[in-house]
């Protein structure tokens, strides 16, 4: 391991000649104990942060804990903070950074660290269980579902979610306030409520918008759009999911009649 910062070869070109050395600063440790450590590692053209973490594993620190699966931005496993910004490390190219810069990789701040870059994200799975699932429409046989493309598109946008939990990580409601985790499900699961609320055939007999407020803390969201900014799938979480949910609630408070006769399908 080269835990040094000095003596780095000069770097050539932003988009990278082969075999240049770059400086990484990575959080190492378990639980609350840990420190940032500096490494120098070879980088090749076109590489992403995750490539360099893998090279660190293979050459410097075989026990460096990193989650990853697809390395193509599709599974949402390799979330971390790169220079303090929540990102998928597999989609963060080294060419984004100044070649002289030390690139700092730390675990997602909102969740407890297990080891190195791996966090305990069980909060998300707990919240997922608290959103009642899709209720199939009574009397419609499988194969008889009819929906229009323009109607499914609204929920389809939210179903692009790869559950990287970067939106949860960045959301200041829980990022800076551990105590809110109990009452607040975070953008990912408020969006899940919106997705079901907008599903053309959901036959749920409760009131999803009201549950978003009561059970999932929609009121705590003050639409700063941080979640939308970090979403690697470019889902417009705030504009298309959270604000419409808030509007549905607001409408009902003025007039209880539509609340009773909600249109379905």
């Amino acid at each position: 391991m080269t835990a040094t910062v000095g003596n780095v070869e000069p770097l050539r070109g932003r988009n990278g000649a082969m075999g240049q050395r770059v400086r990484l600063r990575v959080w190492r440790g378990s639980g609350d104990e840990g420190e940032l450590r500096d490494y120098e590692v070879e980088a090749e053209e076109g590489e992403v942060v995750l490539d360099l973490l893998h090279r660190l594993q293979a050459t410097h620190c075989p026990d460096l804990a990193v989650r990853w699966n697809c390395k193509a931005g599709k599974c949402g496993s390799c979330s971390a903070e790169v220079n303090g910004r929540p990102r998928l490390t597999c989609m963060t190219r080294m060419s984004l950074f100044d070649p002289e810069e030390t690139v700092t990789v730390t675990p997602m701040r909102t969740f407890p660290v297990i080891k190195d870059l791996v966090c305990d994200v069980s909060y998300n799975y707990v919240k997922a269980r608290e959103v009642p699932g899709f209720t199939p429409p009574a009397g419609v046989e499988p194969g008889q579902y009819r929906m229009w493309q323009r109607d499914v598109e609204r929920s389809q946008e939210f179903r692009k979610c790869i559950e990287c939990f970067l939106c949860q990580d960045t959301c200041h409601v829980i990022r800076d306030h551990e105590e809110n985790k109990e009452a607040f499900s975070g953008p990912r699961f408020l969006m899940r409520v919106a997705e079901l609320e907008m599903h053309p055939l959901d036959d749920y007999d409760g009131d999803r918008a009201e549950e978003a407020r009561g059970e999932h803390g929609l009121g705590l969201c003050n639409i700063t759009k941080c979640c939308t900014e970090v979403c690697p799938e470019h889902i417009r979480i705030t504009d298309n999911a959270l604000i419409p949910l808030k509007e549905r609630l607001a409408d009902r408070r003025y007039d209880p009649i539509p609340w009773l006769f909600r249109r379905r399908g």
Binding site: E44, G46, P62, D63, R67, A72, C75, R129, R159, K160
Partner: protein, 635 residues
């Protein structure tokens, strides 16, 4: 081991991709206490990588489609080596499995009349793939994941416990299957987070662990694809068949180096994209093999008319089965007509409008933009073959997914037979659903029929734990081997010597090198860290499995002296009807691999009659065709 955590279940499902989740749903709905074990977090399985769609003959876009047509396409794609009963069940049941996903909340793209839309794909006669843009695998995994959560919510309402009937063990790796006598008794594995071991006692185990692609250097597969289920099955006494058949997807990214192998969906071609050489020439017309000449266009004009008038024109050759396209690209590059980075060009920019590309292929647009600085609405993609799928796997009973080991079931990529020598695109997701469900039923019925539940032996557990911890014992020993370095060597050997084009001499050399790596692998060490989330240790255990499975691939590939589907021999370039009805199977005896030939069960005559005699003559021996009677019969 006194301190080992213990659990009791009726059914344990190893693997949480499409097949595993579907099996777990079925087992739970049939009243089984069920556990699903995933190596990754819940919902991250390799299934999310599937892009194009789920093949199912619903006939929503072309009413001419039905299960018979799908069956025929599947058998043709697999060069008639498929287990025909599996191909039949698959074609028959796939539509119900897709519709069922809608009852779980899935939202597929729609036809103008509101039904599930279907797209064209290689080897499929009609538009057949249910899809959601180019992220169909994500929709499938999320839908099944959410269905599991719904079932847990039901249990919570009833018992006050979400995990009363169905529990997901996330980031849990199985190291060994446990037996009582010759039948299943459970599994032993470790929590990746803590490195602590746990035993799950269960009379029925469903393997749904996916494939083996991480044994190859250039692959579209994720780290999880280390052949665990294949190796577990072998060590438990089951039989693997068809291991020589490995699919190289024709279009993986080739540049920049860090993304080499990442998949470029076949939908690009299904939706109109074409392959061109360095001079811009559309070369696939040169590569239509004799057996497919009748169904594929011989000029760009006819091929282009097919998109709007499929009834009076033949299909573009870009939509040949994957093995054909991969070999063609390989040859273009070899003959010096490739792109600067050793691939060919895949052009959709000149074929579809920007809006169409963004609507139909959003993930591809995003992937190339972010990873390669290429805008696919304006520029061609550079693509080349990448290891994608293994057709071989655990030999199972087609109807119940039961292996030869009582209580052991397998479904999805880890099972063998369904796809023969080559899988058609889109047939994987449908395979997961059809046989995942059947494995769930098979396991549940097996458990219901048991008189006595098997016991786990403490000695067997201790031994399994001891073996898994060996890399720690070897730490500090002189001459210890680094698992990362050994893995890289293994990948080089497989890619170079047992890759897309094979040769007897090279494979002999591969087997020697694999033996040498296996000897060194005994000395693999964990150079740093403890048992807590230690990727070096995890990889050491994975390499053990990859070595065993790679040896199966190389040994079977050396034995099969013909070329068929995902197995191409430079020294035996022809397809031989005398090999069609012979399967190569691997078992482990006394720690050594044993390869043998076994006959393929003859196809039922009513299924044979779905094909013309002329077509069957290209694949079957005269003796086999005898069941059809007089030579004049047509379908």
């Amino acid at each position: 081991m006194a301190e080992t955590e213990r659990h009791d279940y009726d059914v344990v499902v190893v693997g949480a991709g499409g097949a595993g989740l579907r099996a777990a749903i079925e087992a739970r709905e049939r009243g089984m206490r069920t556990a699903v074990l995933c190596k990754s977090l819940f919902g991250k399985a390799h299934t999310v990588m599937a892009e194009g769609g789920i093949a199912a003959a619903m006939g929503n876009v072309n009413a001419g489609d039905d299960w018979r047509v799908h069956f025929r396409d599947t058998m043709r794609g697999g060069k008639f080596l498929n287990n025909w009963r599996m191909a039949e069940l698959h074609a028959l049941e796939a539509p119900q499995r897709v519709w069922e996903l809608e009852t779980y909340g899935a939202l597929f793209d729609r036809t103008p009349d509101g039904r599930v839309s279907q797209r064209n794909f290689g080897g499929h006669e009609y538009p057949r793939l249910a899809h959601v843009g180019d992220r169909t695998g994500l929709e499938l995994i999320r839908t099944l994941q959410q269905r599991i959560v719904s079932l847990q919510q039901r249990d919570h309402a009833e018992h006050g416990d979400y995990e009363a009937g169905l529990r997901v063990f996330a980031e849990f790796t199985v190291t060994d299957l446990l037996r009582e006598g010759d039948r299943m008794a459970g599994v032993v594995g470790y929590w990746r987070e803590s490195g602590r071991f746990a035993v799950l006692r269960a009379p029925a185990v469903v393997l749904a662990t996916g494939g083996i692609g991480k044994s190859f250097k250039v692959t579209s597969n994720s780290w999880e694809y280390t052949g665990d289920g294949h190796a577990l099955a072998l060590r438990a006494g089951a039989r693997l068949i068809n291991m020589e058949f490995v699919q190289f997807h024709p279009t993986g990214m080739v540049w920049p180096p860090s993304v080499k192998g990442i998949l470029v969906t076949e939908s690009v071609r299904g939706d109109g994209g074409v392959l061109r050489d360095a001079h811009g020439r559309r070369f696939m017309f040169d590569y239509v093999p004799e057996v497919f000449k009748e169904s594929y266009a011989d000029s760009p004009e006819e091929a282009d008319r097919w998109y709007t008038d499929p009834d009076r024109n033949r299909r573009p050759p870009e939509l040949l089965p994957r093995d054909e396209v991969a070999r063609a690209i390989n040859n273009e590059v070899k003959e010096g007509r490739g792109s600067p980075h050793g691939g060919v060009y895949l052009d959709v920019a000149s074929r579809l409008s920007t809006e169409e590309i963004l609507r139909r292929l959003p993930s591809m647009h995003h992937q190339f933009k972010e990873l390669a600085d290429v805008d696919i609405t304006a520029q061609s993609m550079e693509v080349g073959p990448t290891c994608h799928y293994v057709m071989g796997g655990v030999e199972v009973d087609p109807d119940s997914a039961a292996s030869a080991v009582p209580g052991l079931f397998a479904a999805g990529e880890v099972a063998g037979g369904m796809h023969g020598s080559n899988r058609l695109g889109g047939n994987s997701l449908s395979d997961l659903l059809v046989f995942g469900r059947r494995a769930g039923i098979g396991a549940a019925e097996y458990v219901v029929g048991l008189v006595r539940r098997p016991e786990v032996s403490a000695g067997e557990v201790d031994e399994a734990v001891h073996t898994a911890l060996e890399p720690f014992d070897a730490a500090g020993v002189r001459g210890g081997e680094n698992p990362y370095a050994l893995h890289a060597e293994l990948q080089q050997v497989m890619n170079r010597l047992v890759g897309i084009i094979r040769d007897g001499g090279e494979m002999c050399s591969a087997l020697e090198q694999l033996t040498e790596i296996r000897q060194r692998a005994v000395r693999m060490t964990v150079p740093e860290g403890n048992r807590q989330f230690n990727p070096g240790w995890h990889l050491a255990l994975d390499v053990r499995n990859m070595l065993l499975v790679s040896e199966c691939v190389a040994a079977a590939a050396l034995r099969r002296t013909e070329s068929r589907g995902g197995h191409t021999r430079e020294d035996h370039p022809r397809m031989d009807p005398n090999w069609r009805n012979r399967l190569l199977s691997c078992v482990l005896r006394g720690g050594e691999l044993e390869l043998s030939e076994q006959p393929q069960e003859p196809m039922r005559p009513d299924l044979m009659r779905l094909f013309s005699r002329e077509e069957l003559e290209k694949y079957f021996t005269a003796e086999e065709l005898g069941v059809l009677g007089e030579p004049s019969r047509k379908r």
